[in-house]
Point group: C2
């Protein structure tokens, strides 16, 4: 049972309440007012439902094929045709510069489209997703020649892109990487040798050429991450020759079966330096930051399609009588399961958190565009601060909650949910990797507490605190807002206390304290921030009329009463600190 | 990477602290003192590691095969040989009566062995697991002739057993079932017609004969669950003829690929009534209650093997430097990941909760034997009350936490955890069904609040409260016990308050209030009960010497500070009640 309809109404409301009007006012985005934007989203949604979704389940079951003799990878049936249609629809070109064949739309649109495409075909979507990351990196760091050569075919989907970071001995710890890049005499090129693992779409049959962004060390490189450089390594060189970067095999994984995860062997492959020598981490992070947001959005995407699937199941299923006799159907032996409080609770756990995460990701996405394009530097700075602070939060919280949500949606369907018939089991398998890749969730938490919080004297956090405080203050006399303000006030007090007493006081002196509490702190932060954004949405919803808004208010109330209270446990656990885990000797585990 | 060693030390400690000495004193168990019992467990553990585990991953990848022409099911390579060895080891015979070929061991042993076998091969273990349920049902409800005919071959594993409940239109709601049983004239037998689904090992090639326990309606049956009778339906009749109960197909599932989940068509199959007409639910519940405990133990089993696997990964992996410079290995570029607080936190989340759940399940298992065999009726009654009260809690909480634990263990392994190489992804897929089958977890919660709590005027809950109160009282002056008593006191206060104010007051008047809070209440109950049992273990551990006990105290402290605090969120969510979920119209989902 594959069912999906793009949640355009909720996306629109998220954008309206999270500041899309600011972007629409920029002269470069004058063609992208909210109505136009939403008509594009509507079209994209139809494409996803009609073209992407029908291949999703069969592709999962078929998987990808590796031929050890030719070292070629064949994608599942239908992917080539789907790629052709995707290319024709110019979906990937939307947010990129017009001069390289893009359509100059706001980046916000790219994140919305990434939700729709991930929901309907996560494996397939990873290919354009990574390509977009490479495009971003080249726009920022490529030479004019590199831009001219690679951007047009990447933006038009004639080529695809990859990110080659991990090696067997290093994932999180890139300082340990050993792939070598040696200058080729007399040419502005390098010869790269080494082995990369976990390269998504590192080899495939969708396009003739693949452009790899490879991290490697120059001969004179310092040790550690300060000695890493970035190179473009195309599969097919400009002279038409095959560059010796070969797929040595595929990983066998729990999910994303239709996305080839490749071992890539560089056997003296020709590459071109991007950016400055030894400054490769900067290039990598340009690619990585957008990727991290997209990965967070995977949690929203798979929550949404799982919710829609579970709801379709629930609406169709009758079982047991309603607990309230007044709600029993006198003409039936059993009632529709939506009468049961717990079925509602499970569905609303998914619905309310998904809409909350969408508010958060929309807010961050809008701030990306504001941070790049706003004429006022102070506004740009605050927007960029928000993006930096919340990128690890979106990546980690939305994937963790997303996995939980898909599991909750499965539970609604009972035994059927566990079978392949209802597809939720695939969404659950596909979802799980998102807690790991693009920096494990704990790495996000360390990024939050170690880099993002203390950056510029804690400027970002202070700005965010000011926003919440203002929200609480300005609504304190509005009684109708109390159910949406009081829980946020309470959560925000816990967050502030812990930020001051645990993070700034204890953890600043003892990094192990920080490491011990970071993951729970990130979730506490996420829950509070989402509560705040939903509180703002409640304010708007109350001023409008119509069913969408009354439902939205109920959904937000559910969030405040059923999801936000998790802050209490998190706070208690954080306060206990590191001692209980650091007390163990290695042989006591 | 398949790795497993039976946790005999922790099992022994659980039994010692949870009252196994009471059982060992019963004359019928004089051959099963704790040392003897543990030597059996040790042997069983070796069998599981050496014979069951090596087939587990390959069997998952191969799956089971169905031949639509012969309607036969073939199990994966190695299962027939494994079945022969399992049979030879007489593992299934241990807890059953000597007169039918059993060894008369305490039931407690059966639950321990079910942990070991599930950990090492869940799919395979489901077959003897269900067979044991059928044996229990026949011992309780079968006629002397039925016992003589079926018990010996079932206990010796010459036959296997199934439980045929579910039909397409009814899973949770058995009152809707329609399979018919019509008397065969002139014989003490019935002709059964209908379709059953989700029948585990309903058809297979491990044994010649399969004995099905089938729920069906007699011609004069009242509607609903008061009109259900239970029948033995053997695949091969005593005269050697094939009984027309055929496998019509297999389900395609997320996990337990090596366990055939069959559609079973009864086409006038011959069956024999077990127990009284229309009283089939009683027979079913005898089978179901033991099955529910075993399913709960699946959560412990897969938590344990996932923990051991993640620990093996962690001990081998170096990545990043220790946050504390004093802990850095000066001869390496990266430190073992066990130096990182968050890796410890994740591992201990699994370890501490697994050991806590093992204390709980051991306590319930011991009480099963006490409830059956203790000479004093008052003691038997209290033991049976505890078993009844905690059966739904073990089933629901241990499976929910078990699934979470396996996912947490996967996270320790990073990307490797997502590949099939480390097997945790299989454990996660295999685990997920346990939250659904043998009564979904919410059905357990409804059983807890609707039947078990109010039974006999709340006698069971009062007895349990008395135990906790006594634990708190008797330790209140022991300062060294404070870290293990105070958190339990706080949790138990929340539990009591909510039991009184929400369950007994609000929910008793309004069943929807009960339905809305039941699942969270069950978890609150489980966390508190485990806290109490671990508190008792702490008391014992403090009085003993040796590394096992100092580690145990650290582990219990971790539970109190990192796991038990979840009660705070649960209590807050429960207090909000039903309004937030019942406010939604059907078209607002």
């Amino acid at each position: 049972m594959q069912t999906y309809k793009a949640p355009v109404r909720d996306i629109r409301f998220s954008l309206e309440t999270m500041g899309y009007d600011k972007i629409a006012n920029f002269s470069q985005f004058e063609d992208y007012d909210i109505d136009t934007l939403m008509s594009i989203v509507e079209e994209a949604g139809k494409f996803c439902t009609n073209e992407m979704l029908p291949t999703n389940s069969a592709a999962d079951q078929e998987g990808v094929h590796y031929n050890p003799e030719t070292m070629e990878v064949t994608t599942p049936k239908g992917f080539k045709e789907l790629w052709a249609k995707f290319r024709e629809g110019e979906f990937a070109a939307m947010p990129h510069p017009v001069e390289y064949g893009g359509h100059g739309a706001p980046m916000t649109l790219a994140f919305i489209m990434s939700e729709l495409s991930t929901a309907t075909n996560k494996s397939f979507s990873m290919c354009p997703g990574l390509t977009q990351g490479l495009v971003d990196a080249l726009i920022h760091w490529g030479s004019d020649e590199q831009k001219k050569t690679y951007l047009p075919p990447l933006i038009s989907c004639e080529y695809t892109g990859t990110m080659c970071l991990t090696e067997p001995q290093c994932g999180t710890d890139l300082g340990l990487l050993t792939t070598k890049a040696e200058p080729i005499e007399g040419r502005d090129a390098y010869s790269l040798t080494g082995t990369k693992i976990w390269i998504t779409f590192g080899e495939h049959d969708l396009t003739e050429n693949i452009v790899h962004l490879v991290l490697a060390r120059l001969p004179d490189a310092p040790e550690g991450i300060r000695g890493i450089s970035t190179f473009i390594v195309p599969k097919i060189l400009e002279n038409g020759e095959r560059n010796p970067i070969y797929c040595g095999g595929l990983e066998h994984k729990m999910g994303i079966h239709a996305s080839p995860t490749c071992v890539m062997n560089l056997e003296g492959a020709e590459g071109y330096l991007v950016g400055e020598p030894h400054k490769g981490m900067k290039v990598m992070f340009t690619m990585m930051n957008a990727a991290r947001l997209s990965v967070g959005i995977e949690g929203i995407a798979l929550s949404e399609i799982s919710y829609q699937t579970a709801l379709a199941f629930a609406k169709d299923r009758t079982q047991m009588r309603a607990l309230d006799p007044a709600k029993r159907d006198p003409n039936a032996k059993a009632d529709n399961i939506l009468v049961h409080p717990d079925v509602r609770r499970m569905l609303l756990n998914v619905k309310a958190s998904t809409e909350g995460m969408r508010a958060l990701s929309s807010w961050v996405a809008v701030n990306i565009d504001v941070g790049v394009n706003h004429p006022d530097e102070a506004v740009r700075q605050e927007a960029n601060d928000i993006v930096a602070l919340f990128t690890p939060i979106v990546k980690s919280y939305c994937t963790e909650r997303g996995f939980w949500n898909v599991s909750e949606a499965m539970q609604v369907c009972g035994g059927s949910g566990y079978t392949t018939d209802w597809c939720i089991e695939q969404y659950l398998r596909d979802m799980r990797i998102a807690l790991i890749y693009e920096g494990t969730n704990h790495i996000q938490a360390l990024d939050l507490i170690g880099r993002k919080l203390p950056a510029k004297g804690g400027r970002a956090m202070m700005a965010f605190n000011k926003q919440i405080t203002e929200f609480i203050r300005s609504n304190k006399d509005d009684e109708s807002m109390a159910p949406f303000v009081n829980p946020v006030k309470e959560a925000s007090k816990l967050l502030s206390d812990i930020t001051m007493k645990t993070l700034m006081a204890k953890a600043a002196k003892d990094p192990e304290e920080g490491g011990a509490v970071a993951s729970n702190y990130l979730n506490l932060f996420a829950l509070t921030a989402i509560g705040y954004l939903l509180g703002q949405q409640a304010k708007v919803a109350m001023q409008r009329e119509g069913k969408f808004y009354t439902t939205k208010l109920k959904t937000i109330r559910f969030y405040m009463e059923n999801i936000l209270p998790e802050v209490h446990s998190l706070a208690a656990i954080i306060k206990a600190g590191k001692a209980n885990m650091m007390a163990f000797e290695v042989d006591e585990f």
